[in-house]
């Protein structure tokens, strides 16, 4: 009797959370998938099979956006290597490491629009960067960084790295601090150099965290860069920085076809899910290996 009451109250505790998560996350995802196969004719939503996907993939803009997301993926190796190097330096307890750690994490707490607007002023044709370059006599390097078709996306990528780098550093540093010191001592006894210790102890020991970081950073580049683009370039010049998220935003809230936008969103969702599955299976294999 007592047990029965206990079961009932336990469900009451999780009920509010599941109602809200169901309404805000699960229901929209299901709606999205259904909606991506529907179309509106005569004010009514009817089944349209693959119409939206066909139209979406026929649009060259989708391919441009997809390409731009994939180009942003190139930020990930840069961020991973840089944050690992910085984490190792801080881990060696160089003078001022705590100060450096606080500084590198600072951009992470600033809002993306704030960062984006500051960099827009710094990078524009007559911005601080170009003025400085001109003063140094490097006039030919003074370019409209965000307005140039070839440089706009790399410039946005650099700003993303500037903003996000701290997270990787803090993540890797935390992992390094939990590595068994005796592993390093053993390597030292064997006469390993700094570089050998890095590749033979640090990297293998931190492999799981590195994998995790790479995967979530890829997901970020796929589905978390809207604000940077919205603030800095609005997709321009000439769609050179239009990413999938921005395309979806434009199609859905700029007077486009909701259902096609949903089909594109579903593509993003599938890509993110594939990344998560890859991560999970890597984790699973690692666990098997350690067993």
């Amino acid at each position: 009797m007592n047990k029965k009451i206990q079961i009932n109250t336990a469900y009451l505790y999780i009920l509010p959370a599941f109602l809200i998560m169901g309404g805000i996350i699960v229901y929209p995802v299901i709606e999205l998938i259904i909606g991506s196969f529907m179309t509106v004719t005569g004010g009514k939503e009817v089944f349209a099979a693959l119409r939206n996907y066909r139209l979406a993939f026929k649009d060259p803009l989708l391919w441009t956006a997809l390409q731009n997301n994939l180009k942003l993926f190139l930020c990930v190796p840069v961020m991973t290597v840089l944050s690992l190097v910085i984490a190792v330096i801080l881990f060696n307890r160089i003078a001022g490491w705590r100060f450096y750690r606080s500084i590198i994490f600072l951009p992470f707490i600033l809002a993306i629009p704030v960062v984006g607007i500051i960099f827009t002023y710094i990078l524009q044709m007559n911005g601080v960067l170009n003025t400085t370059l001109r003063n140094l006599g490097l006039d030919m390097l003074a370019i409209d960084w965000l307005g140039s078709p070839t440089l706009a996306l790399p410039s946005v990528g650099a700003v993303i790295i500037w903003k996000q780098l701290g997270f990787g550093v803090v993540l890797f540093l935390a992992r390094l601090m939990s590595i068994d010191i005796s592993l390093y001592e053993a390597a030292e006894v064997d006469g390993a150099t700094w570089l050998q210790k890095f590749f033979q102890v640090t990297v293998p020991q931190a492999a799981a965290v590195i994998e995790f970081y790479v995967i979530i950073s890829l997901i970020d580049m796929l589905s978390w860069v809207f604000s940077f683009i919205f603030v800095m370039t609005a997709g321009g010049p000439g769609n050179r920085t239009t990413v999938l998220e921005f395309l979806i935003y434009k199609k859905s809230f700029g007077g486009g076809d909701f259902n096609i936008a949903m089909a594109i969103s579903a593509v993003v969702l599938v890509m993110a899910t594939i990344l998560i599955i890859i991560h999970q299976s890597l984790l699973g294999r690692r666990e098997e290996m350690s067993e």
């Binding site: 079961i7 505790y13 998560m21 996350i25 629009p113 607007i117 803090v170 579903a266």
Partner: protein, 278 residues
């Protein structure tokens, strides 16, 4: 001697790299803050020097800007309410997952983890339709619920991992003293959970304060905008007066910089706790 030289060189290189990094991080912030205290003509002439004369005029003007005070108020309401509602609901759920017994507990808990990684852009159109059907577009409540829903999975996950380490003997002692399940949560579990509550709230506060997409889509009325959305759109109208915009950006950033100074440890811990999932 050789190894000592080597270690000196590696230390020197490390310091050089760290100084370059510090410089490249500080520079944009220096740009924002110094120019926000300059008169406009000085900004145009020289954007790198220190303000002379030093002026607070840009801040005054930013605050005088249309609706700026209202935006500030909206941001505070949204941040405070979303973080508080999330905390209460997550604590209830985490308590059940950590300390109560019910069928399907493991399965339901594992179901929460993938919810953390759903791209926001994949949810926004259906969310918008739903909120529209409910007649709740342009209400702060709708955004509070959406923020809560998005923050819940991570918050529950963190709370549960913390609560599971509270010794059962403490809870049993409370029961023997005649505390009900709920009173045990209020009197024993909640006070013990203060560290994780602070940690996750700091993470949530920073996230809500800085959020753009949802606030942009769901709060389209000028008087309901958040500070972040307001400042992002406001830039278009005052493009020429950069110092005023920089002052606005300063106002947006200062609360979070204060949070960072006082709660850096919590913030970092919170972000790390969420990242060991899987």
């Amino acid at each position: 001697m050789n190894t000592r030289n080597q270690s000196f060189i590696s230390k020197l290189l490390s310091q050089i790299l760290m100084i370059i990094m510090t410089f490249s991080i500080i520079m944009p912030l220096y740009f924002m803050f110094t120019n926000s205290f300059k008169e406009r003509h000085q900004y145009v002439r020289d954007a790198l020097s220190l303000p002379s004369p030093f002026t607070l005029q840009n801040y005054i003007e930013a605050f005088r800007g249309k609706n700026f005070v209202e935006w500030f108020k909206n941001s505070i309401i949204l941040t405070f309410c979303s973080a508080a509602v999330t905390m209460v609901i997550a604590l209830l759920a985490a308590y059940a997952f950590a300390k109560l017994h019910f069928k399907g507990k493991r399965l339901l808990f594992r179901f929460i983890i993938p919810l953390m990684s759903v791209p926001p852009v994949a949810m926004i159109i259906p969310q918008f339709r739903m909120i529209k059907t409910l007649g709740m577009v342009n209400t702060l409540q709708s955004v509070i619920i959406i923020y809560t829903g998005i923050m819940l999975p991570m918050t529950i996950y963190m709370f549960r991992n913390f609560l599971i380490d509270i010794p059962d003997s403490l809870l049993e002692a409370a029961r023997i003293d005649g505390c009900s399940r709920f009173m045990t949560l209020i009197k024993i579990v909640a006070p013990l959970s203060v560290p994780v509550i602070i940690t996750s709230s700091v993470v949530n506060i920073v996230w809500v304060w800085n959020e753009l997409l949802i606030a942009l889509v769901f709060l389209q009325k000028e008087s309901l905008r958040t500070l972040i959305v307001g400042i992002t759109l406001f830039r278009g109208r005052f493009t020429l007066n950069v110092p005023v915009i920089l002052a606005g950006l300063g106002i947006v950033s200062i609360p979070m910089i204060i949070v960072y100074i006082f709660a850096q440890k919590h913030l970092v811990e919170g972000l790390l706790a969420g990242s060991v999932k899987g």
